[in-house]
Symmetry: C2
Subunit: 614 residues, 2 copies
């Protein structure tokens, strides 16, 4: 009390001690008067400070018995909050709030909203944890009692200045207890986390297996797919019927369908992966650090990967097979239109796993609502791969801290230089736009050197595109020159038989245009001048830059990468078409015979690069 008095008086605030006893609360008159007293004090801006009147208490510890009304300061606070009809009870602790494990464990997460049904069983109140010793159990008990009786409670840290003010301003700190809390949140986060943790555990068991054993699993998966072809087909047929009844677009329904030859081709590709050179444990670099001290940088699995895909159920098989080959755990979220197909494929694949690995290696997430929860799990999911519309990818990139492998836009450019061979330019421009107009690597903006507008080159290119039925939208210069409609934006991805066209002064203006409006996906220069070509190839800051070749070559299969995980426009981890290496990371292995650093006198460093094949 003396300390409270001193501290409050520095703020010119008076405080007043109120000592109460457990038994008082059985007396209705006391309770009425208590409220009046506290209200009077507050009207006089005097802060009441409650404590048990230990000196006259006849009770013996432990207080928590059947006769007790309160047992400790926390339960006293809860009781008073109810008696005084408080709007909010704030319980101050020495940690930020309630964690789902020991607060000192970095894996423990602060629980922002306590939901009895979820958290009662999840939280570790071990004897060994600070939770148990630090009184958090008592705080949670008091908080639950008060909250369910009607006074919301927030447990937060008393060690952080202004935390009380921040709570009152509605900042999201500490842990809130409220009788309606179970209505605010769903239980998905918990189960999403459990799935991710289980996938990681299974992936570690998968990694222990030999390359040969992982191949065997893939062969078993291929066999299971073959054996279950009829049930897969009937479930897929049910999805197709439902999609048609729901009036989905024809193109979506066609992507949904697993035709008979499709299953056979999936089985073939799984068997091909079984035969593939082992991607894990590849030595990327070997260095002799000192005598008998050899360092290796080797490839290893990333861990747990979340793949969110739309429509095509065959994507599930491909990505599952890649995960098994590369020793990763997987969480899969497919589109609801392919629900039954995905469920049967998932079941067939995971049933083929040996018990040593377990079927939780690959988790199938079924509800759309789970996605936001999954995207929060940056401590247990290592990479997100969205395979779907630009909108899906953008939304995911905007809402997660987990690294995302993918590309939202594909604004690809072809620049035709003044020195271009016009026949080559015509071929490339035609292919880049018309081979598959909706592809992400299709041409969206054609840039033309200004000299071609006077020597007939421009006209030839425009004619070629018009013959193919391509609608042209001009930039300011091109629309004036060609008398075509002006493009609404150079950022637009047409994804159809249409593209933008603009005149530029030279290769440097083209590069500038690409940096200003491009999406760093794929760009091409058509020129016979190798100096101009090299300037373009090296200065354009995109994932893929081509000279005299169609943008459509930007693709994992065409690049010879084998299975394609996706195309990335990120600069981190993987860029451009990504094969199985996108599912891998590296680690350093050092083998010695007792070497120590000893302030760098322990060994004589040689730092000799060694051949990679030992």
């Amino acid at each position: 009390m003396a300390l409270y008095d001193t501290m409050f008086s520095q703020l010119d605030v008076t405080s007043s001690q109120l000592l109460v006893n457990d038994g008082f609360f059985r007396d209705a008159d006391f309770r009425k008067q208590l409220s009046e007293t506290v209200n009077s004090l507050l009207n006089l801006t005097v802060i009441p400070i409650f404590n048990e009147n230990d000196a006259v208490s006849t009770r013996k510890a432990p207080y928590q018995d059947s006769t007790g009304i309160f047992w400790d300061n926390d339960s006293l606070a809860g009781l008073l909050a109810l008696e005084l009809k408080a709007d909010l009870l704030v319980l101050l602790s020495d940690v930020e709030g309630l964690y789902n494990g020991p607060p000192s464990d970095p894996k423990s997460k602060l629980i922002h909203t306590y939901v009895k049904e979820i958290h009662e069983s999840e939280i570790t109140f071990g004897d060994k944890s600070r939770l148990g010793r630090g009184g958090m159990t008592a705080k949670v008990n008091a908080a639950v009692c008060a909250a369910y009786a009607g006074t919301p409670v927030i447990i937060t840290s008393g060690c952080v200045t202004d935390n009380i003010t921040r709570v009152l301003q509605g900042e999201r700190i500490g842990t809130v207890f409220h009788k309606d809390a179970h209505l605010w949140i769903n239980t998905q986060e918990v189960s999403a986390r459990e799935m991710a943790v289980a996938a990681r555990e299974s992936s570690r068991r998968l990694q222990v297996l030999s390359s040969e054993e992982r191949s065997q699993i893939l062969l078993a998966v291929a066999d299971a797919l073959e054996k279950n072809e009829s049930v897969i087909k009937s479930e897929n047929e049910a999805d197709i019927v439902a999609a048609e009844e729901a009036g989905y677009e024809k193109s979506l329904v066609s992507r949904l369908a697993l035709k008979p030859e499709k299953i056979a081709s999936l089985v073939r590709s799984v068997r091909m992966l079984a035969d593939m050179e082992e991607p894990v444990g590849q030595i990327l670099k070997r260095t002799e650090i000192a005598d008998n001290l050899t360092l290796e940088k080797i490839t290893c699995p990333l861990g747990v990967i979340l793949v969110i895909f739309e429509s095509r159920p065959d994507a599930l098989v491909q990505i599952a097979a890649l995960a098994i080959r590369s020793g990763n755990g997987l969480l899969l979220k497919g589109g609801k239109e392919a629900k039954r197909s995905n469920e049967v494929l998932h079941k067939v694949i995971t049933s083929a796993f040996p018990d040593t690995v377990g079927d939780k290696l690959i988790g199938l997430v079924t509800s759309r609502e789970a996605i936001p929860d999954l995207l929060k799990l940056d401590d247990v999911i290592d990479l997100v791969i969205p395979r779907g519309s630009n909108k899906l990818v953008s939304q995911i990139k905007d809402t997660t801290k987990i690294p995302v492998l993918g590309h939202s836009d594909g604004i690809c450019h072809v620049y035709v230089d003044k020195s271009a061979n016009i026949d080559i330019a015509k071929k490339i421009v035609k292919d880049a736009k018309t081979d598959y107009p909706a592809a992400c690597n299709a041409l969206e903006t054609l840039l033309i050197h200004k000299d071609l507008s006077t020597n007939g080159g421009l006209d030839q290119l425009v004619t070629e595109l018009k013959i193919e039925g391509v609608e042209l939208y001009g930039g300011p210069r091109a629309s004036a020159l060609l008398n075509i409609p002006e493009t609404s934006s150079f950022h637009h991805e047409y994804s159809s038989l249409a593209c933008a066209i603009e005149i530029v002064d030279d290769v440097f203006a083209a590069i500038e245009h690409i940096h200003e409006y491009g999406s760093s996906h794929t760009e091409c220069i058509v020129t016979e001048d190798s100096e101009v070509a090299e300037a373009f190839l090296h200065q354009v800051d995109s994932a893929a830059v081509f000279h005299n070749a169609s943008t459509r070559f930007c693709d994992g299969a065409r690049f010879g990468l084998g299975a394609e995980v996706g195309i990335s426009t990120s600069r981190i981890h993987a860029r451009g078409p990504v094969g199985v290496e996108g599912l891998l990371t590296t680690k350093w292995i050092l083998r010695g015979n007792g070497q120590v650093v000893d302030a760098d006198h322990g060994v004589t460093y040689t730092h000799k690069e060694l051949p990679i094949k030992a």
Copy 2:
């Protein structure tokens, strides 16, 4: 009106058209009655829908002249909001709100809070942009007028269901206009973005230079540092005096000091980087895709890197030199205790840049408040490298979507197997803990095979550590066995002459312990059994795993990587000690002579790996 009527009647709401004219508002009686009418309608739950009474208006377009009171529906809305003393005016648009450029440009950012002083000049209201045509200029003018006269305004999209409800519920959507808005936000975000954009532009100019020209810049930087040694020393001295006066810790002051030999050694390291093999443009993979169609994967600069470092001003020189060598732009944020040192070093270094590159290649951020703004710029900053305390790194990781290269914890383990050579174990354990106890690669938890507790091995190790003055904290088994205090947590990083010790059953229990409590940094096994060693090396999921060598070897210089950018415990981009390759990404270059895809009939794919040296 008919549409409004129909739509509202579906909700059983009546609407009522009110047609007004500009001149009416000059009449005080009309204005009084207008308010009364609207209030009466609202009391009857009739929605008033205002419009100009165009039919009887005598005005001619354009309306915005000196006599007009309102000119369009937006200014009418603003006027009415003020007349009716509205609490809030919501203006609905076909875009999310006000952007700082054309909304179709993905680089344009939604402005959440409009501040006249900042945004008036920043926003592009070009003739060509949708902003100009779509009426956003009119909306912003009306919003500014109403807001400054006292009615807050929100511009948001009318195309999204529930946006009005969401605005009323206080969700952060659209753009808010409020007369006090300038008090809510600061101008840092704008300048941080400008610095980052300028650094990227300069970096592109740097990348155009030849390797030799970049070397020349480094040599010029080295010369400038030498030439300005005295002014650098005097500014550094001023920082030291200020730090001492401020009562900073001695260790911090000592890290702050640039001793004379330190500048000479920095100059030497900059000259070494000038001589270094060119890291940019290295060919990592070459593939013949088809005849005369060759694919290369080459290294290229990441772009713009933000480095946040504490105390040591020499870090500024090292990272600046690395950025120049690798063609990257840089934003630097140093500690305030080294403010003058950092400023003079930054000035000396950037003054040595040729005009072709420009001094904005490296930006120095001076205010601490700028950090949150910088961390939001995930569209212009490619990587954040924090160099400082665990707390700093954790905070940064928690608050940014930009990839972070670094490690927050260094909970390193040494596991001594039953088959260990105890002399080697003693040497390694001693070195791992005592060579530099505060290092991130120092031993924090010693795991001992249970058999060593009966054969004397455990006692020898404990004695060795006690001789060195290491305090030991036991896990449950070790504390019982050795009669030492129990550790509060296996997650604790002692960073001093202290460590945890625990008994485990075998190598698999050790691996499990490391996965449960480790931070994936560096772990070591001491064993003479090569099978056990290989299991540990391959199964432990950490950035660096060692056999019979001290954890202290986990370091860029000791690994022979040259300059060290940092040690990463991330699985993405770079893992473990990271050299200059941490500042690089890759791109794909394809050289052809007119090849097209043509539904994969355009070329005959050969996919032949070619030697890397052409």
